[in-house]
């Protein structure tokens, strides 16, 4: 029945986000056409679940399929595809000048996730980054007596966890809100890559001895989870939950975080915030788009701030950590080495590097530009709801901590998530959990 | 006490009345045969007694109890099914002992009874066979054994010997009779075998189209059938029937006359159409007339087909002067007679002979209703011998 589904046969086929392809597909093609891409583009939506999409791409590439020609890939997996040799080396495909631009103008931390750690070659072109920020309900804050001037400071100046927790407790009390802080701490990849990673880094901790060892070499880097800073970061999280916690951290507010966080992922944690039932909420910018929308809380009642921290960068135990830290999300464009339309595909990739397209994507779908400088452009600031929060996001973007993606990361991430979850759920002490995690990670490292 | 009483029992299926207002009163310990044409409702009657079919109307009593609404298991009956219905997943031993095991008899008692039953049905040594490994007759014998081990108040047996050979059938007949005496149970028995019905039963119940025609001891049914149907049904080969008309001197048919004393008959008049019935064994060659107390006048016939049976020969006779026989060979119509003769007789096909009827064995039926008018009404001229009016069927036994 569905004979030739392929569309025009010489179009560049692009493995794309299904929702976006559906909603802005035509505008997007127009955007590229306006920016000099002559080839037709066919958006081929992948699975809405990113894990499934990754598996799908892996199978296609392993089977030597020539389509899609280019893929959108999560920065969390690109590394694995590089390791497996499944995607094309852009350092060999792009001009020197273009490579230089990537080197100079992009968020470095984000770009790094598209490079081969050993050679530094570029395998993916950053398309859009994603940085979580701390979001809060201004209306509740106002009830505790805070005003616009406070909010302005908060937007760019990170607080310490201690201050922040007291602030949260205070507002929670004043506004009589059910939840102080909502975040995600389920046993899932998001905890390992992001929420726990952020908290740990902001305490000066790291999984593998700091920023330099993020992408390997596996087996030759230290495992550093059984360290005080990491343990303390978990104790802090537990302190937020449990008012009767024996091992509570001094000076931190308690009872501001519901035990439900141990089963929450992004959406489930966002729901109470959207309902006005929470003071603070850690989430990706998409949540700002939703919660601060006209028909939700509205921009006036919704604020953002950089993620709090416990230890400044200078005092961090693990090199390259400390200070406010945002996990790193976002997507790259990669090239299928078997593509039969490589030239046209590169044309698309090059167009993506233009500011026009970056801003266009932001306007069309809220995808943040991969270059910090574009954050300050007027055009960006006028864009949608999120345009109002670029200050904070930019701070976040400059303080990111990528997940340590290697070929063993998927194994490690499940152990990490499990351990972090256990502690916050109060099932194991932080010391015990990190001790166990240390040995588990070491074992995995010794492949 | 296990008399079985059916009061006005009717069983209707969608468009068929299988049993029609049946009244039966079977005494405790009695052996009653149900006979009737195929599809007349015998099995259905049995099923209502067993409780497998709820009658549409009417009540059933076993002993003093109204069992109409009781489930089969509480009725104290054992049944041999017409369709045998062995349990395919059980061997012969398990099939036979089924009813006993249900009642938690001890192993030895079961063994003993199964052994005896399998002896009776001559299935010794086959106890570990599965039903599928047996011949038709062997299966039927298992079904019989399954019923007789039970020793219930009432036995219902639906053509239990249909698939057995003659010899075994005679053996089983005797065994069943002995069992009947021994256990003193009531037995209701369906058979198509005349010999079985005649020899085993205390009374025979003749059913036609779901309606009870007559229930009487075998010889009463044989000699004094209440109607044409019973007369034709009991006896094999069946009674000769010749249509005629009542005259002052007797009965006149198309081809012959029989002298009778119509005066002695009640309720019928000159000129009434009647059917004259005479059994094959009561038709004799004219030579044998003097051996008979009441021979009729000789009748001219032509022999047609001869059927030698070994112990006798059936001779089909065409009545001379009758219209051409339009039914086919072997089937009998109103203008042919069947005669049974000795195997040594020298009768040949297409002989022209004369025969006489034993007037004392002649039956008269109302041609319209089929009801019997008289049995053995002899010629007025002769001494009034053993004539009798129609026996009231209620008065049987």
């Amino acid at each position: 029945i569905y004979g030739n589904s392929g569309g025009s046969s010489d179009a560049v086929v692009w493995g794309f986000d299904p929702t976006a392809a559906d909603e802005i597909g035509d505008d997007l093609k127009q955007l590229y056409a306006d920016n000099g891409v002559e080839a037709d583009i066919e958006l081929r939506p992948g699975d809405s679940e990113t894990g499934a999409r990754r598996d799908n791409y892996q199978r296609l590439l392993e089977a030597g399929e020539s389509e899609p020609d280019i893929f959108m890939m999560d920065n969390g997996w690109v590394n694995v595809f590089i390791q497996q040799g499944l995607i094309a080396n852009l350092s060999e495909e792009l001009d020197e000048s273009e490579l230089q631009t990537v080197e100079d103008d992009y968020f470095t931390g984000f770009t790094d996730t598209a490079r081969a750690p050993s050679s530094g070659d570029l395998y993916g072109l950053p398309m859009y980054p994603d940085f979580p920020v701390m979001q809060y309900n201004k209306a509740h804050a106002r009830e505790a007596g805070y005003g616009e001037s406070d909010f302005e400071t908060w937007a760019t100046e990170p607080k310490t966890w201690q201050e922040w927790s007291q602030l949260t407790a205070e507002i929670q009390e004043a506004a009589d809100v059910e939840y102080g802080f909502t975040t995600q701490w389920d046993i899932y990849v998001g905890t390992a890559c992001c929420t726990f990673n952020e908290v740990m880094s902001s305490w000066g901790g790291a999984y593998f001895g700091g920023r330099d060892n993020l992408f390997g070499p596996v087996g030759e880097r230290p495992v550093t989870v059984n360290e005080q800073e990491t343990i303390d970061s978990l104790r802090m999280m537990r302190t937020f939950v449990d008012e009767d916690y024996d091992n509570a951290l001094e000076g931190y507010a308690s009872g501001i975080m519901p035990s439900d966080v141990t089963q929450w992922v992004e959406e489930s944690s966002r729901a109470p915030m959207a309902e006005g039932n929470a003071v603070m909420h850690r989430n990706w910018p998409y949540a700002i788009g939703n919660n601060a929308a006209e028909d939700a809380l509205g921009v006036d009642n919704y604020g953002t701030m950089p993620m709090p921290y416990a230890v400044p960068e200078s005092e961090a135990a693990q090199p390259g950590t400390g200070g406010t830290t945002s996990a790193l999300g976002g997507w790259h464009i990669v090239l299928n080495p078997n593509s039969e339309r490589k030239e046209e595909a590169l044309e698309v990739i090059r167009a993506t590097m233009t500011d026009e397209v970056s801003l266009g994507l932001f306007e069309l779908w809220g995808w943040l530009p991969p270059k910090p400088e574009l954050f300050s452009s007027d055009r960006a600031a006028e864009t949608g709801v999120v345009g109002n929060y670029l200050d904070t996001i930019r701070v976040a973007g400059e303080n990111t901590m990528p997940r340590p993606v290697t070929e063993v990361w998927s194994n490690q991430s499940t152990v990490i998530a499990e351990a972090a979850n256990e502690v916050v759920a109060g099932e194991t002490s932080a010391e015990q959990a990190m001790n166990d995690l240390q040995s588990s990670l070491e074992e995995i490292e010794q492949q | 006490m296990a008399n079985v009483t059916l009061d006005n029992v009717t069983k209707r299926y969608e468009d068929v009345v299988a049993v029609d207002d049946m009244n039966l009163d079977i005494r405790d310990g009695e052996f009653v045969c149900l006979v009737g044409p195929s599809g007349c409702g015998k099995s259905t009657t049995m099923e209502t007694i067993a409780g497998l079919t709820k009658p549409t109307e009417g009540t059933i009593h076993i002993g003093e109890r109204d069992v109409t609404k009781l489930p089969p298991k509480d009725r104290g009956v054992a049944m041999v099914f017409q369709n045998i219905a062995l349990f395919p997943h059980m061997d012969v031993y398990d099939n036979i002992s089924f009813g006993l095991r249900l009642r938690d008899y001890d192993k030895e008692e079961i063994d003993r009874r199964v052994e005896r039953a399998s002896d009776i049905v001559q299935l010794e040594g086959m106890l570990d066979r599965m039903p599928e490994e047996m011949s038709g007759g062997q299966r039927q014998r298992v079904a019989i054994a399954r019923a007789i081990v039970r020793e219930p108040d009432v036995f219902l047996m639906d053509e239990p010997l249909a698939n057995l050979d003659a010899k075994l059938r005679v053996h089983m007949r005797t065994e069943l009779q002995r069992l009947h005496k021994q256990l003193d149970t009531t037995i209701i028995y369906v058979t198509h075998d005349q010999a079985e019905a005649m020899t085993m039963s205390d009374r025979i119940a003749v059913i036609n189209s779901g309606e009870l025609q007559q229930i009487d001891p075998p010889l009463v049914c044989y000699n004094e059938p209440t109607n044409r149907f019973v007369a034709g049904f009991i006896g094999s080969p069946s009674m000769n029937m010749v249509d005629g008309e009542l005259t002052p001197g007797g009965v006149t048919t198309d081809t012959f006359e029989v002298a009778l004393d119509p005066e002695s008959l009640s309720g019928v008049w000159d000129g009434d159409p009647v059917t004259l019935g005479i059994r094959p064994e009561d038709v004799h060659p004219a030579e044998a007339a003097d051996e008979l107390a009441h021979p009729t006048a000789p009748i001219e016939v032509t022999t047609d087909v001869l059927e030698p049976m070994g112990d006798e020969i059936f001779v089909y006779l065409k009545l001379d002067g009758a219209e051409a026989d339009d039914t086919m060979e072997g089937e009998r119509s109103s203008n042919s007679l069947l005669m049974s003769v000795d195997p040594d007789s020298d009768i040949a096909e297409d002989d022209e002979i004369s025969v006489v009827l034993d007037a004392s064995k002649v039956h008269l039926f109302d041609a319209d209703s089929g009801d019997a008018i008289a049995h053995g009404v002899v010629d007025t001229a002769a001494a009034p011998a053993a004539d009798s009016a129609v026996a009231e069927s209620e008065g049987g036994d």
Binding site: V80, I187, V415 | G51, K73, F81, A85, F87, L102
Partner: protein, 340 residues
Amino acid sequence: MAAETQPDATTRESRKSGALVTLTRRIENLGETGFAYLLLTPVFVLLGTVALYPLLRTFELSLYQNLVGLGEAEFVGIENYVSLFTGDANRWLPGSTTFLPGVSVNGTFPFVHLNGLLRSALAVTLIFTLVSVFFETLIGFGQALVLDQDFRGRGWVRAAIIIPWAIPIVIQGMIFFLMFHPQTGFLTEILAQWGIVAQTNTLNDTASSLLIITVGDIWKTSAFMALLILAGLQSIDRGLYDVAEVAGATRWQRFKLITFPLILPTLGIAILFRTIQAMRIYGLIDSVSSCTVVPSLSCMVVETFNTQRGLSAALAFVTAAIIGVVVMVVIYQQYKSGDI
């Protein structure tokens, strides 16, 4: 008249198609064995290409390591298999999952202790299988007996009982996930009061999740049992019940002596396949909880699929072998009753 017979047997058919007739005749004339194998050809072809060939390839994979990731694929023989039993492979399994439960012996009752029972993929799979198949059989049997009765509205009850089976696993997962989700989980509190499930972090608690998943599976797949058993019940010759009833069998005896033995072959098939399916549980775990929390054997296969493909292949074969051992019991029963 015999001439009238002629056209039927031979000429008529041969007029239709001579070749076809010869073929069918040739087929009919094959011996029992030849005929059997001929009829099985489609099965052999289909299973050979779509099942056996991939399995062989997968078996080939199971003898290699490093199929995914840096470096050359390395032939390691049965090392992948061995590593499962020595515990070396545990580090590739999600979370703190182990393949075998740890066994330790000490002086306190019951002397032999299975450590981390619920962390063991093997143990979790077996526990799940045992419990779910047991209850599914029981409930399915009950449902089938109900559906076997004649009563008003039985068609509706039938449809209702089959609905769970018609629901996709993701939705089944969603239903139970949301029943115990922190926000929507109206059941958590009630059940937690009785200590049946954990009060918090319910779906990340192995025992609670395993219970929920087991119940969810029973809810859905009892219908599978019910359908099969019902079909078995319906194929029983009702005449046998008449015989048994007249012989004086009570309801229970009729069930025990007629119904049960006669549906035993069907029941055996139902249990056999349910056991196999249960031992391959994956989808429901994935959608209600996660493989990290409730590790099943199939979970392990899927979770290692993209990282340790050789190990994943070995796990698939080991899973199959374990299933083979477990269902031997059922098969033996079938064999004894002559159904295989």
